[in-house]
Amino acid sequence: MPKLVHRVLVSLLFLFIAQPAVAQRRVAGVVTAEGSGAPIVEVNVVIPGTGIGARTGNDGRFVIAQAPSGAFTITVRRIGFRLKTVAVSAQESDLRISLVQDVLKLQEQVVTGEATTVARANLAHDVAVVSGEDLTRTTTATVEHALQGKIAGAQVMSNSGAPGGSMQIRLRGVASINASASPLYVVDGAVVNNVTINSGLNAITGASGGLNSSSQDVGVNRVADFNPNDIESIEVLKGPSASAIYGSEAANGVIIITTKRGQSGKTRFSLTQRLGTQQITKTLGSRRFSLDSAIAYSAAFGATPAAVTQWYQNTGGYVDWEKEVYGNSALSHETSLSVSGGNASTSFFSSGLLHHDAGVMYNTGYDKQSIRMNLSHLAGPRLTLGLTSTLVHSLTHRGFNGNTNTANISPYIVFAATPAFYDYRPVNGVYPVNPFTNSNPLQTLALLRDPEEVYRAVVSASANYSFISGERHNLSLQMNAGIDQFNQRNSLFSPSELQFEAQDGLPGTTGDNSVQAIVGTYSTSLVHKFTPDSRRFAATTSVGFRGEYQRQTGINIVTQNLLANQPNVDKGSKVSLFQDRNLVQNGSIYVQEEVLTLNDRLMLTVGLLGERSTNDGDPNAFFTYPKASASYRLPAFSDKISEFKLRLALGQTGNQPLYGMKFTPLSVVGYAGNGVQLGTTLGAPDIRPERQTEIEGGFDVDMLNGRVGLQVTGYQKRITDMILRQSLSPSSGYSTQYLNGGQMRNRGTEIGLTMVPVQTQSTTWKSQLSFSRNVGVVEALPVPPFVVAGFGYGYGQGRIEVGESPTQIVAWAPNTVGCPAFCGTLKYGDTEPKYSLGLTNDLTWKSLRLYGLVESRQGMSNVDATHRKYDLLNMTPDYPASLDRVKRHQVDRFGMYIEDASFVKLRELTLGYTLPDRLVPHVLGGVHSARLELSGRNLYTWTNYWGLDPEVSNFGNQNILRNQDLYPYPPSRNIAFTLAVEF
């Protein structure tokens, strides 16, 4: 948003500032791209300090009608290219200017405050920017998918392979244990909701006990709703820069999304049609039985030899049932249309999306429709107005996977318990009762329904008023307000004939889980830019305030023992109701000073934010978050190295307490009426935000005339005042208490290398490599070491203890059998990779383009409880070799199923062909350009991990408790064919 404001401001200046009367002449020219020689449209050609300028047209040509008669210089500027200054002599009137592509994006404007931006060249901290083009090179359902592997220092992890999202981003390590784990998402200046609403599947799986929804439902975090095609760019604020304005919501980083804007000129249409398919990337297989061993095995489950023989005949002794459940390759498709244009004062961008992903699991899928309208209007010389709005509807069927307790409905737990010679198929429409466990996945697949439907509206409005726009002073007021509102409704219908439904004596379950969430934000800033006549420095001062309002209400109704299989929640004998509400209000004020001096070589920034939140113990206490940074661009000291920049930044961010942590809630109990009892947790009435102090330093090198760029960054984040849960002596009346305390540290390195090995008229090869490494350690705890409970030390769970990584996975130590109450525990792994690599290659040859992205994460571990289950139930395909593991497992305890989950994934691969310009009008009347693409996502994974996918999280989005593998939705590869036309 501020980027646009900035751009509009600049052009306004040119339009309305009166010019001194001098003799005039006409200067024309053409701007082309260096290398290819192609004309570049919409280049700003400006005579600095005069406001005189022009823009190039479709042919790359421009005309300055009122150029001064003498010699002068012009600056030639366009996003995506390096700024160029050209001297024009008094005689010249026809210019030929070539621009170098800004591969390193040094000219890009990066957000440094609510209302200010700075060119990347001067930035004092590392900010990852991903352009809309880079996001949508391959078919993608959600924004987070599209970010995978593209940001150094960000672990973007899928929680499962289910369609429709559910992913988590961990930036520079774990920032908290009990407070929020999600980065803050800001779209067009307004905070949007990334909350995860769990579906309510727990009512039948009993994964977390009880009937209410649970994190083991692996819900979708709602940033998935945004249409990636609408995005102009994404900035990921990883470090102390995030403290600029977002204080106690910024500890996990801030992800700033800017959507596309229209540009004045002819109305343009852009239509993209994608058609694709998907298939399961990995199956686990199953043990093979001879008929005799099948009969012997089945006897323990009460199956007669005759029945077993019949199954064996039907199935030929082995059917790959995984393919019967997860073999859906139905068509996925996406139609995306955008229309943009405008006149001198008003521009618009509008888009529509129809997206359909079929899931590899039958009867699952993701449907999304969205429309967007973005408007910008110049209301006179001083006032700019903007409006962005989008409406989204999505309908997701995510199937039934993951941990189960009461009813073993997840297909993979059934496959771990049921031999592959068993025949699940219905006979005369009646599904057989699986004697090996309590469900038949084909029956469940046919009858169970759990759709998730979301309606979402996100609107933001902005106004920018320029009080003064002069050579020396610029003073403007910027205001922004936004509303993000969604309703999510999860329905669940598990009819009584399902095999598992009978066992609790309440056959048939239906659920209706509805959540309404709203986030409203507003902000106002005043920005003053001062440039003295001497032009020795430029100082930008900004002050402002921000407010935020978040509210969420959820009602979950679960009804059991359905009458006549009627799915309405009032048609059962046992109705359970759950309601969850919260409300948070945050307010902040900030001041920031940026000074650019020494010929634009030295950039200094200081800022201070004061923030308060109703989640803090004292809702009116301000917590301050300072920041300071400096960058210095060394003059070119060799012809090989065109620029060398040193940078240093430090700042503080916070992580506010969650709603309710300051209260000591009573619990409600029934005893011939309602009563209250003490809850188990003693609140912390003086609770305050966690505080993260970060220092980041590094250097950027620009070599070989922009052909090679290197960025090296080191950082240390120290988190103090962590929000912890202390266990209490129960004689106090409570068993746990929240408190602030302890200290944790993350140290890491991020390296980015961008190269353009080939740049000729016909060929461009661009290559980008990113490396990141983070090491976390708990430095101090005011409480004894504590467990972040998974399924216990028998499987592997998190434990927070001084001197250890906060993400360690701990299980029983070897040879603990026979020890009274177990002898000890041992660290077996860590969910944080030792290092991550991303490699992008983009090769253009004439009209062909080949693009690929490979991501690698090395040295992290998963708790592979799926493997453990297969082994313990003797159903692993390598049986009887698995018996050795089971035996060892009795000695080594359970640590052996904490498995290395390192992987290399071919995330994206695209082959594109742009139809020659001269050909297009003949083939497609009225079309300017056309492009054909064949692309794939997650095409191949190289890993030694036994389970389905090294990227997995049975508990959904978590600070610590990640990488738990229990019967997840399997991963898939997606392949799509794309036709994109512009007209």
């Binding site: 005043l526 003053h528 001062f530 002050v543 407010g547 009573l666 029934g670 005893y671 129960p730 106090s732």
Partner: protein
């Protein structure tokens, strides 16, 4: 940087500053106070503002006690070798309760530690005291305090009954985060007696009715004057514990404590009306959503509770109590024990569990009389025979030997209160009859003697750096 340009730079500030100040003023308005929506917050009860709050607290106190009573009876009766919980999924009901130790970190070691209810009683007492007179009259405040203190005392009784000589934290009415010292049994018993006495004074001044309703299980005890009888029944129990607390070691009996117990029993609901034997406050259960069912009831088809076969073997022929409380059934065995004797004292999952009954009071009075020495023995036997004739349907006995009288009292208690009171284990420990062969001891089970006490829970100890020795 030249000075003059810097001055100009500053010179433009007043205008900026004025607008900035305006912005800041707008931002400086108060943040709202956001309450906790999903549950009532404890702060709302620091001052009672409505009778419904009093009702909610009272209901919560009773629900808290109901949460302990089943567990205490189940575990105590197991340790007393009268019942088994034969649960294949959880063998520790046998291996630990009939073993050498209970793991303080598991659900057994952490149970019957009712300090949340004790603290809720303090919240009730303080919140009602702070209430405006228009909400609660002075009498209403006293009645509420008397009730809450009585329940508080009852919870301390449960704690000390299960931990005995280990002592328990006492005087927990402290600011959040502070821990009360663990006091040894004599101090705790004195403290409980003082709470009950002060509750009695409050109840006596509590007017004619409670400002809240009690569940139907408290029928007959729903006014301050009637509830005072429950208070006195509990006071008598504590006085008996005080009277005999050194008996197992030194055979010493405190006569003043017995005097106090006699007075308390006289003021209780003790009645020698044969039809009134089961009278007393009791916890009711219900299958209504949010309510609880009787944890000691199990469907006869799938029951996991069994009586020790000795319960029927050691009974007198024709004892109607045995017929009421047990029945032959299928055999269940686990970890070295086994039985085919079902427990039938609770006929459904909503059968009530008594807190204290008239027949227990009668047998407590027999203990008091016995403690008087030879002069009290005839009176003790009179109470014993009343129970034999009216509860057991057995002929009266004539016993004059002091030890034999005590043996008979404990035997009547065993059968009259089977699976309905934790008294058998407590009495055996108090009278030095824990170890040894029956009838002078509880007998071995799985070759092991009974446990003397349940442990201090591990999480209680860890909050005290492991130091759990009691202070006198």
């Amino acid at each position: 940087m030249k000075t003059h340009s810097f001055r100009r730079f500053l010179g433009s500030r007043p205008r900026t500053a004025a607008i900035a100040a305006a912005l800041l003023l707008t931002a400086a308005c108060e943040q709202p106070t956001v309450p906790f929506f999903n549950n009532p917050s404890e702060e709302e009860f620091t001052t009672i503002t409505s009778l419904s709050q009093v009702q909610a607290l009272v209901t919560g106190l009773l629900a808290g006690d109901r949460g302990s009573i089943g567990t205490q009876i189940m575990y105590s009766e197991t340790i007393a070798r009268d019942i088994y919980r034969v649960d294949n999924a959880e063998p520790r009901y046998i291996t630990e309760l009939l073993g050498t130790t209970i793991d303080p970190s598991n659900f057994l070691g952490g149970s019957v530690w009712p300090y949340a209810t004790i603290r809720l009683a303090d919240v009730t007492i303080k919140g009602s005291a702070a209430a405006d007179a228009s909400v609660l009259t002075d009498a209403g405040k006293k009645a509420t305090a008397g009730f809450a203190q009585t329940i508080k005392a009852l919870e301390y009784i449960r704690a000390i009954e299960t931990r005995d000589s280990l002592g328990v934290p006492f005087g927990t009415d402290l600011p959040d985060g502070q821990l009360a010292a663990i006091r040894c049994k004599p101090a705790v018993l004195d403290g409980i007696a003082a709470i009950l006495d002060s509750a009695a004074v409050a109840l006596a001044a509590g007017g004619t009715s409670f400002p809240f309703a009690l569940p139907a299980g408290f029928a007959g005890f729903t006014t301050p004057a009637n509830f005072l009888k429950v208070n006195r029944a509990l006071a008598a129990k504590v006085d008996i514990y005080r009277a005999f607390q050194s008996y197992a070691k030194t055979q010493a009996v405190s006569q003043p404590a017995l005097d106090s117990a006699s007075a308390a029993l006289a003021a209780s609901f003790l009645s020698l009306t044969p039809s009134q034997l089961d009278v007393g406050p009791m916890h009711l259960y219900s299958t209504t959503t949010g309510d609880a069912v009787n944890p000691l009831y199990q469907d006869p088809g799938s029951t996991i509770f069994r009586a020790n076969p000795r319960v029927t073997a050691e009974a007198e022929a024709g004892d109607q109590r045995v017929a009421r409380a047990t029945a032959p059934g299928s055999t269940k065995s686990l970890s070295g024990i086994g039985s085919n004797v079902l427990l039938t004292g609770y006929t459904s999952n909503v059968s009530p569990i008594p807190i204290i009954t008239n027949k227990e009071l009668i047998l407590m009075r027999a203990e008091v009389q016995w403690g008087r020495g030879a002069t009290g023995l005839p009176a003790a036997m009179s109470d014993v025979n009343f129970i034999r004739q009216n509860d057991a349907g057995l002929a009266p006995l004539s016993i004059t030997n002091s030890d034999a009288v005590l043996t008979q009292i404990l035997k009547e208690k065993r059968y009259s209160l089977l699976f309905k009171s934790p008294a058998r284990w407590i009495d055996a420990r108090m009278f030095g009859r824990l170890v040894g062969d029956p009838p002078l001891g509880l007998g071995k089970e799985r070759g092991l003697d009974p446990l003397a006490a349940m442990p201090i829970p591990a999480n209680e100890a860890s909050g005290r750096n492991g130091v759990v020795t009691c202070a006198p």
